[in-house]
Symmetry: C2
Subunit: 348 residues, 2 copies
């Protein structure tokens, strides 16, 4: 018991000293703009905090940094667990730092708080990259809602860009709607796949194929090489079934072995080609502008819904009317009317 | 000029006498429950009206009819213009009335008011069915928003079912999100296609394939027969790429010639098999309950958004902040906060 007490008072003093040492928004902004990793990390901690005083400081830093973002590239990377995302990001990231680029790695993983599955959490999975002075790796923010996690990641991107990172890699696992969120914050979206037992397309989540700017078949090494080539053909054929993208880009399929560092260069060259084509045609800036618009409207609509669904009185009536509607005792439209009238009254 | 005057006063007296003769909600409900087509038609006119006094009466009729709906089947039919939807519905409808079923035909066409393209508007396209005493055909309601048109159609379904129609066919053109709306109000969703030049899958709208419970290749006659068979194979293969439906149904591909009345029976048999399997497994009622829930929540969320986007003060600020957000002068989240604060103030 005395140990507990000690620990507790120790913790308190630690927290107090930490609080004392939290630099101001201005100091953190300056640190970020000077490329200071510690300042960047602390600012992201503020962004991720649910403490309201932290939130205000975080907002100030973000607004300060917004006008300082440089010409960075945001690449989304998705794939089911086991596809080798960490190894891929390690190899890909090291390839980029060797080219003289500064690389930041972020993650969107709305499941991490539930499953404790640590996307990027286990930094030792990227042993080399984490030691690279030109790399910044940040584990997935915690949070139960995808909206919250996505928002935090999206704001962290702004900070990383202000800190001078040239390439921001955003990892996500193929769970829930997280790909859509990541797709909405990146310039290039990369789907990692494995060569399987021949029927590659079965079990691909709906909508993922449409989002991908490139499909990379990883672990194309050893015994897998032949199967990877077959998979490449099948995916190329399948991609052909989708209508072309608005910006005219036709998604490509590549193979690589992150473990043996093979095919990595080609992937970066592909991203580069994409960016060049897209910047020349104006699609790059257009997409970013559309993404900003999307996040504004999305946030507004999410909040409007939250204000409705989280109202206690509305909740009670909704539960009752849902049952009546499902049993066809009242029409859905009449029920909606009643609910909206109550919500209106509650707001006043 | 004097002619104009006459016409005008004639019209006025006509409208007046029509108004006088509008029966009460109770009378119309009784008429509907007795299977009276005129009463049904008049009630649907009330449903489609934007006049607020009509709306109240319409709501009363709908609530009255809700508990009287029988075991009808709702079938959605979609396909691009030229695929032969009208001929198909005529032949399919006559096949059903010959089986002793009462058939109602409704339409969701959010474009009709703009393009004047008359989905079901030209009733002469269904010459035989329109004369059939066991068929009721209603042209697409007018309206500029899909939400409005879909709502009207969905409420009209309730009335048709109360009037004893066994099969409700809901037609839509492959435009905008209308298929999603129709898919959300039917038990079975049928996609009409033509055999083309070989590359059948190109140009199919995203998401349509996933929604279809059956694909029917129409105009499989004469010179087209061989191509229709090839298309059937290709579609069957493509459907195989999608994950199975929640209810376990594997979508089927059939060919038919509505013009020569070939293959129509097989289509109805397929719908019948689907319904039997689905009712046994409980999927039928579950889907209907889920659809009711969907329409309730969808209506609530649409209205919440409308109240926001239609507020004049909010509109002005939104226009300004959208520009700032797109130019990265303010973060989307900060902008959303400002907008929601203003909206909140406006509501009070």
């Amino acid at each position: 018991m005395s140990t507990e007490k000690n620990t507790s008072s120790e913790s308190i003093s630690k927290i107090k000293s930490f609080r004392k040492n939290i630099p101001s928004a201005k100091e953190l902004t300056e640190g970020i703009l000077n490329g200071n990793k510690t300042a960047l990390g602390r600012a992201i901690t503020l962004v991720e905090s649910t403490n309201i005083t932290h939130l205000n400081r975080a907002n100030e830093i973000i607004e300060n940094c917004l006008t300082h973002t440089k010409n960075s590239i945001r690449v989304g990377i998705t794939g089911v667990p086991g596809v080798g995302k960490s190894t891929f990001i390690e190899t890909f990231g090291l390839h980029l730092t060797a080219l003289g680029k500064k690389v930041a790695v972020l993650a969107v993983d709305p499941t991490s708080s539930i499953s404790k599955g640590s996307i990027l959490g286990d930094k030792t999975r990227m042993e080399e990259l984490v030691k690279d002075p030109n790399a910044f790796i940040r584990p997935s923010p915690s949070g139960s809602s995808l909206g919250g996690v996505a928002r935090k990641t999206r704001e962290s991107i702004i900070l990383c860009e202000a800190a001078g990172y040239d390439v921001i890699l955003i990892e996500t696992v193929g769970v829930g709607q997280s790909e859509t969120a990541v797709h909405g914050m990146v310039d290039f979206f990369l789907l990692l796949k494995l060569a399987g037992a021949g029927d590659e397309l079965q079990g691909i989540k709906r909508g993922i194929m449409e989002m991908a700017d490139a499909i990379v078949i990883n672990k194309a090494d050893g015994d897998n090489l032949k199967r990877a080539k077959i998979a490449k053909t099948e995916f190329t054929r399948a991609l052909h079934l989708y209508p072309p993208k608005e910006n005219g880009w036709i998604p490509k399929v590549l193979t690589c072995s992150a473990l043996e560092n093979k095919g990595i260069q080609k992937i970066w060259e592909l991203v580069d080609t994409y960016l060049e084509e897209n910047k020349n045609r104006g699609g790059f800036q257009l997409k970013r502008r559309e993404q900003n618009k999307y996040w504004l409207l999305q946030t507004v609509e999410d909040q409007l819904k939250q204000s409705f669904y989280q109202n206690k009185e509305v909740k009670v009536l909704l539960d009752r009317l849902l049952l009546e509607v499902m049993d066809s005792k009242i029409s859905p439209f009449k029920a909606a009317e009643k609910l909206l009238a109550l919500h209106q009254k509650e707001l006043k």
